[in-house]
């Protein structure tokens, strides 16, 4: 969504912005302006730039989201162990406090930047932009962004990554997709983690979790795994390899993808040739009817 190209305008609202309909005086004489701008335009603008940073180097960026304690960092540790020899990987860690997670990643020999958000419950595109500048991106294949543990707020913020992965761990209960539809609808892949606990938690039925997921009309793959059994990670590692190949194929076609489904294929930002309109303060970011 952006407020410079007019993609906020839909058949349902265009009557508001056409032919001066948006710019009129109210009956009390106040100036009345129809805007129709996404409240997160500024974030989305930065996110598009982050994505261009990554696309230029052919890097695939994955945003890991879950509630606290679902096993994001453990999954990363196991993944780095499995892929480390073949791919160059870096990690951005988001937490309210501590460098603990970044230290766990660095112990695997992988560069990690810790973003401590203080009281912020989510990462945004500006925080990730600063973190990108602390990383050596050249030669990198994969960037994992481990978001703040939270099933609500991170879902609203594009970080400039390509794919969303949502984790749901067995101890949490299988109705999480029904309780947090915004998060799970945005997922490109859902991982059911800690499956080694299924025998002791029979009330969690992976099939029920998947049914709740399908009720959100998403075709995102649903994989069950546990870091305790490395063989169970194979489909996840396979998915990463396929996504990396897809990212390189998109790059060759001059395309990129926003997270949240294949419908989000978009042309890459054109840099330096005027193909991308910057929106800065003081410019009209809304649809102005000039008389």
């Amino acid at each position: 969504m952006c407020d410079t190209c007019g993609c906020n305008i839909t058949p349902g609202n265009e009557h508001l912005v056409r032919d001066g309909g948006r710019h009129a005086l109210t009956d009390t004489g106040r100036e009345s302006v129809t805007v129709l701008a996404n409240l997160l335009d500024e974030n989305d603008h930065q996110a598009a730039h982050n994505r261009e940073h990554l696309d230029r180097r052919g890097i695939l960026a994955i945003n890991l989201m879950s509630s606290p304690g679902a096993g994001k960092t453990s999954l990363l540790e196991a993944t780095l162990g499995a892929l480390g020899p073949t791919l160059r990987i870096a990690v951005i860690e988001g937490d309210l406090e501590t460098e603990n997670d970044a230290d766990r990643i660095r112990a695997k020999g992988v560069p990690a930047v810790q973003i401590t958000t203080g009281s912020a419950c989510h990462l945004d595109a500006h925080m990730v932009h600063r973190a990108l500048h602390e990383l050596d991106l050249d030669g990198l294949d994969l960037l994992f962004i481990e978001n703040v543990g939270n099933l609500v707020c991170p879902a609203s913020f594009d970080l400039g990554h390509h794919r969303n992965v949502a984790l749901i761990s067995v101890p949490e209960g299988d109705d999480k997709p029904a309780k947090y539809p915004v998060m799970f609808r945005a997922a490109d892949l859902v991982l059911c983690t800690k499956s080694d606990l299924l025998p002791v938690l029979p009330e969690f039925q992976p099939s029920r979790a998947e049914t709740h997921l399908r009720n959100l009309a998403t075709s995102a793959p649903f994989l069950t795994l546990t870091t305790r059994e490395p063989a169970s990670l194979a489909p996840w590692l396979q998915w990463l390899h396929e996504e990396l190949a897809a990212q390189r194929a998109r790059g060759a076609r001059g395309q990129t993808i926003r997270p949240g489904g294949d419908a989000n294929l978009v042309p890459r930002l054109a840099h330096g040739n005027g193909g991308h309109q910057h929106h800065h303060h003081g410019e009209h970011g809304y649809h102005h009817h000039h008389d």
């Binding site: 349902g12 302006v33 805007v35 409240l39 335009d41 912020a120 609500v152 309780k179 009720n215 003081g282």
Partner: protein, 117 residues
């Protein structure tokens, strides 16, 4: 509480537009918020006065239109209103749907006072 971040972004946009129009005060702000945006209207209402204090939008009336979740079914062609956690066609139960509304997080409309109004 990402509503505070979103309120800050809202106020930036409102102030930019008010400045462009030479307005002395912003009197009314209308938002469109759908449940699939992940934003709670009541939390926006609570956060707004904290963020707007001392700005020319301090006394603006904040109106939030709740936009229903509607899906268009590619199978039966019907458009139905559905719940945020059940995005299947309300008529035939099909899952080949397109979301028509409910994801909005928009600054829709502003009313401002200009010195020469």
């Amino acid at each position: 509480m990402h509503e505070l971040s979103i309120c800050l972004a809202l106020l930036d946009q409102v102030q930019d537009i008010a400045r462009d129009h030479g307005a002395t005060s912003v009197d009314r702000i209308r938002l469109h918020i759908g449940p699939l945006s992940g934003v709670e209207a009541t939390l926006i209402q609570q956060a707004y006065p904290l963020v707007a204090a001392g700005t020319l939008a301090e006394h603006a009336e904040l109106i939030i239109d709740a936009i229903p979740v509607r899906v268009y079914c590619n199978q039966c062609g019907d458009e139905t209103e559905v719940k945020p956690n059940r995005l299947l066609c309300g008529r035939c139960g099909g899952h080949h749907i397109r979301i028509v509304s409910g994801t909005e997080m928009l600054l829709a409309h502003l009313e401002m006072t200009r010195p020469d109004d």
